[in-house]
Symmetry: C2
Subunit: 382 residues, 2 copies
């Protein structure tokens, strides 16, 4: 595996050094005090927090202080639909966003930039992306958001309400800045060059601090936002930044729809999911004998990683699994069977919830309390 | 006066050599045959045509053939509102557009890009531009368009219907092309970089050939359009290109709101208009005696130019004026008085029509036959 890495909103390649990213992106590490305050306010900590899968932030202290002082905050995240369905790694920001919504009773805005992949030349037409946008919306709704506190919007539909604010934002972003931040060049389409303004717009939806759970690859948008927001008399975006879920093919690899063996899609057939997991790379030894003697290496094992991120909520059981592997008592075949069972169960339940989401879709997009308000939203410089 | 000139959609400076522009822009000169066919089809020729103030075109032959074959065509033009009202030079494309609408009974689309000057850093806020956008709309309506065949739209209001098409267009325009065509650089805002896509959108409104009467400074947008339209299964834009109306301060100068003595605003007080005209630069001699002896030079006279462009429809009378000047019989004071009277009369009539336009405004923007259709328009790749 290459030791170098590249990470832009459009690409993540190679092993990722998160300490280096914290330094490079200029974000803050999440500290014990954050988890203590969150624990106190929420009454518990989501496993993705207590296991530090969210590892960095911007202005989380301010968000928590705003909450404690009664000012409140709001949540914003998104998903750019592409030519393939969402995979299991994509749900991380939505899971934590939903958790924050439940615990803090705040509004959630979810942008579906259904033009971005087309403009980035990762899709050949808008029509190619359109059905995936709809599937993504159902997948997101299926994760359990509050239909009256959540607004989901597609750029191509909601642009009429966004454009004015986007223009005010865009005026503050010169090409040289956009080029430096996003690596744009002469080949970049003028639509993609404008797009950052649209990803920034939802940070202005309320006169409260926006908290954005996302992958660190999205930070450049919000770093830009933080320069601009004060000029528009709005709050700088706060961020809660997660690591990437490893692909099944190795430690710190990325799940990628274009490499099917790396990922489990949210609409994957359970049998196929099982097959992929049974074929996964692990932290096991060359032979069962060797593994019993030396123990496995869960630290580099995607299977153990998946338990820790999504498929084992019980810390004690996760620790038992860790040590059983280390001691050579739990072999990879058995461990993978355990994971496959959980993933299959998740996929079956999720498919059921996606079905149920169809009936609720319009609440999130048009008819729910927040959605209705947002179809009358207008940005006003105050 | 400098012999060099610059002409971009944002600037026109110095003496303009139209022959050179035809060559540089790669457009075609309007030929006798165009005027003959137009005369035959329309039954007459507008003075701006028969006096060749419209001097160049793209694809006018195709437009006329389309009309003759029954395919038809449509008209598109626009006005970017700024921090000052429209002046008399700005109405040229609208006058000829209205004439074509009347003679050929075709639809007219008028874009009001109310974000452009702000994005081009020629205005400090959108709110600063907004009242001028409204005044421009009334000024345009006052010129006599058909309320059921004309759709006037502001970008910030109509973007919801335009964005999808703009994205399809934008995907075909890389930054390097936009930079070469418009002179964008690192300081250009990402909003202005995207803007050309929005100016191209209306050329896709119908599956007919769009004819765009405009100043040649707007040609770069439509040159781009002509590369893209075939890829979107639409017609290349046809153009009808006018010269610039001279300012009052000299031959081939430009009217400019920032240099008030050069221009008469559409809302100018008639007394003030008279004062400016009486102070105008002319083709007269140093003294009355000299002028009687040598004659004036109407060829370089803004006052004569204004008669020829807007304030004398009768060719015979215009010729008489020309020779009376040449022969030293008509001195500048008298000639300017004639012009001042016509301009005053125009301003009074126009002000009355602007007043009447208020009641009709919503027909053009929302309720008229074409406007209603356009609020349901969707671009479909066919």
């Amino acid at each position: 595996m290459a030791s170098g890495y590249t990470l832009t909103p459009w690409e993540a390649k190679g092993r990722i050094d998160y300490d280096k990213l914290i330094e490079e992106f200029g974000v803050e590490r999440l500290e014990d005090r954050h988890f203590e305050i969150l624990q106190e306010l929420a009454g518990e900590l989501h496993p993705l927090l207590r296991r530090r899968f969210f590892f960095a932030h911007r202005d989380l202290d301010h968000v928590l202080a705003d909450y404690q002082s009664g000012k409140g905050f709001f949540l914003y995240t998104g998903r750019a639909p592409s030519k393939s369905p969402m995979h299991i790694g994509h749900i991380i920001p939505f899971i934590i966003t939903r958790w924050f919504q439940e615990k803090f009773e705040v509004n959630v805005y979810i942008e579906i930039p259904d033009e971005e992949k087309f403009l980035a030349k990762k899709a050949d037409s808008l029509d190619e992306v359109a059905p995936y946008a709809e599937k993504d919306i159902l997948n997101i709704i299926a994760l359990g958001f509050d239909e009256n506190r959540t607004f989901i919007f597609k750029d191509t539909e909601y642009i009429g309400r966004m454009y004015r604010a986007a223009v005010l934002i865009a005026r503050h972003i010169n090409f040289s800045t956009a080029r430096a931040v996003f690596g744009f060049d002469g080949e970049t389409s003028i639509g993609l060059i404008f797009y950052p303004a649209l990803q920034i717009v939802p940070t202005l939806f309320e006169k409260k601090r926006p908290l954005i759970p996302c992958g660190i690859d999205q930070d450049p948008y919000f770093r830009l936002q933080r320069d601009i927001a004060p000029k528009l008399n709005r709050y700088k975006a706060a961020e809660l930044l997660s690591k990437l879920v490893w692909g099944l093919t190795g430690p710190e690899t990325k799940m990628s729809a274009s490499e099917p063996e790396t990922a489990i899609m949210l609409n994957e057939a359970p049998r196929e999911a099982r097959r992929k997991i049974m074929n996964a790379y692990t932290g096991g030894r060359a032979t069962a004998e060797e593994q019993r003697r030396l123990g496995g290496v869960p630290e580099v094992c995607p299977v153990f990683h998946w338990f820790s991120v999504l498929f084992e909520n019980d810390d004690k059981k996760l620790e038992e699994r860790f040590w059983a592997c280390k001691r050579g008592e739990l072999l990879c075949g058995e461990c993978k069977t355990h994971l496959a069972e959980r993933v299959e169960r998740f996929l079956v339940t999720h498919a059921q919830r996606v079905k149920e989401a169809e009936a609720k879709r319009d609440k999130f997009l048009y008819d729910g309390k927040l959605a209705q308000e947002m179809w009358n939203w207008e940005f006003k410089l105050e």
